[in-house]
């Protein structure tokens, strides 16, 4: 499959969109929280000698806000690149991702099915499939299985309950297409019995 200039422009737009999204989350989350902390600490300082009780309350608020900022940063970092992927590989990373999804995810990923050089590729394909899928709140459950046929690696993701999401609205697949283009892989989307959404992703593996 040859990458056209249209594909490249689309890939670039996808990446820009992703950056914009991260920038927004940083501004509105941890950055705003750090500003709040500075203000609370300065109010604590102001009241320190005359109203120590009040001062203490400001310090407690600042500590609680710092806690929330840390949580926000941790979530953000996990979306950028989860450290567990670097240290332990794709299987534990997917288990960890499953804990953060709003729906139950059953994983069928035999250990060693993914060779270490494909860890990142496979993880981010799964990540985008699971995170970008439309109508998240309609998904009752999902199942992700990875099998190797020797020449190809097949990732099958089945979502239960959001199959009515229009089969033609595939803009959400852009990050997947973008990644698959580099690997000469392909993705197929099917709707099963008007209820389930099935995603079949295939990438060739070096023999």
């Amino acid at each position: 499959m040859k990458e056209s200039s249209g594909d490249r422009i689309r890939a670039e737009r996808t990446a820009d969109q992703w950056r914009l999204n991260l920038a927004r989350r940083l501004h509105e989350g941890p950055q705003q929280q750090l500003v709040d902390i500075i203000i609370q600490l300065s109010r604590a300082d102001q009241t320190w000698t005359e109203r120590p009780q009040e001062s203490r309350q400001f310090m407690e608020l600042a500590a609680a806000e710092a806690q929330r900022a840390l949580e926000g940063i941790r979530d953000l970092v996990k979306d950028i690149y989860p450290m567990i992927l670097a240290t332990r590989g794709v299987e534990p990373a997917l288990h960890s991702l499953a804990l953060r999804l709003p729906f139950p995810l059953e994983l069928d990923v035999p250990s060693n099915v993914v060779s270490p050089d494909l860890d990142d590729t496979v993880y981010f394909l799964c990540f985008h499939a699971l995170i970008d899928v439309p109508s998240h709140d309609e998904v009752a459950a999902a199942r992700l299985a990875i099998v190797s046929t020797g020449k190809r690696l097949v990732i099958e993701v089945k979502f239960e309950g959001n199959g009515t999401a229009s089969g033609t609205m595939h803009a959400w697949l852009d990050p997947l297409h973008h990644r698959l283009a580099a690997r000469e892989g392909l993705v197929e989307v099917k709707v099963e019995s008007n209820r389930n959404l099935l995603l079949i992703i295939e990438i060739p593996v070096a023999g």
């Binding site: 996990k78 960890s96 729906f103 139950p104």
Partner: protein, 220 residues
């Protein structure tokens, strides 16, 4: 808690402000801090030389800044299997915790770094791993218990039983659970029996065996 002989602690942490703060808090709380090192290879050498009761170490450390701290501690544990370890991390992954505990749950703790600011949690964790117990971060356990899942036996637990389940997974003994919830040990034992029956778990001997059984269940 027997405080006649102070628990001997070695610290591994590369961030100076955090390291000084941690050492200060530990000394203040009566622990015998033998030293603190900011590099995983040095840390390993010092643990082997000093044979402390407990190592408290950051997972991410130089030279590679991946999980060097953890690797150093795991290696040191081969030489000193009785040594307690309390790992600290900027991020916590439940599956990481499970793997770490599955390896050998005896005297293992795992806390988010900022929990150090809650001195009671830190002190309790150090004491627990020093005594061969388990001390897993309450937030991680909470995330594990409350994650979305298909309807199953967990739904049949009462709210109280869920709380007890979380405390078991954190590594608390029945006596500690009783103290935390301000109920009798007998009542805790009854809750535990009900939880085991409802989840279809087999009674394991020893506290860390049951931590493992519960974590394995929650992982599904």
């Amino acid at each position: 808690m027997n405080r006649t002989a102070a628990i001997r602690v070695v610290v591994g942490e590369d961030q100076p402000i955090f390291r000084d703060g941690l050492v200060h808090i530990l000394k203040q709380e009566g622990f015998d801090v033998l030293g603190a090192w900011g590099n995983a290879s040095e840390l390993l050498a010092q643990i082997l030389a000093l044979a402390p009761d407990v190592v408290i170490s950051d997972i991410q450390m130089p030279p590679h800044r991946t999980d060097d701290g953890l690797q150093a501690v795991l290696e040191a544990r081969q030489a000193h299997p009785e040594m307690g370890v309390l790992m600290l991390s900027q991020y916590l992954d439940a599956s990481y915790v499970i793997d770490l505990v599955a390896d050998n749950a005896h005297g293992v703790g795992y806390l988010l770094k900022e929990k150090v600011a809650d001195i009671a949690i830190l002190v309790d964790a150090v004491n627990r791993v020093a005594a061969g117990g388990t001390a897993l971060d309450p937030d991680v356990i909470e995330a594990l218990v409350s994650r979305p899942r298909k309807p199953g036996p967990l739904d049949s637990l009462t709210r109280r039983e869920r709380t007890v389940l979380e405390l078991i997974a954190q590594g608390l003994s029945n006596a500690s659970i009783a103290q935390t919830l301000e109920i009798s040990t007998g009542a805790v034992e009854r809750h535990v029996a009900h939880i085991y029956a409802k989840l279809g778990l087999r009674e394991g001997r020893g506290d860390h065996r049951r931590v493992l059984a519960v974590l394995e269940f929650l992982k599904q």
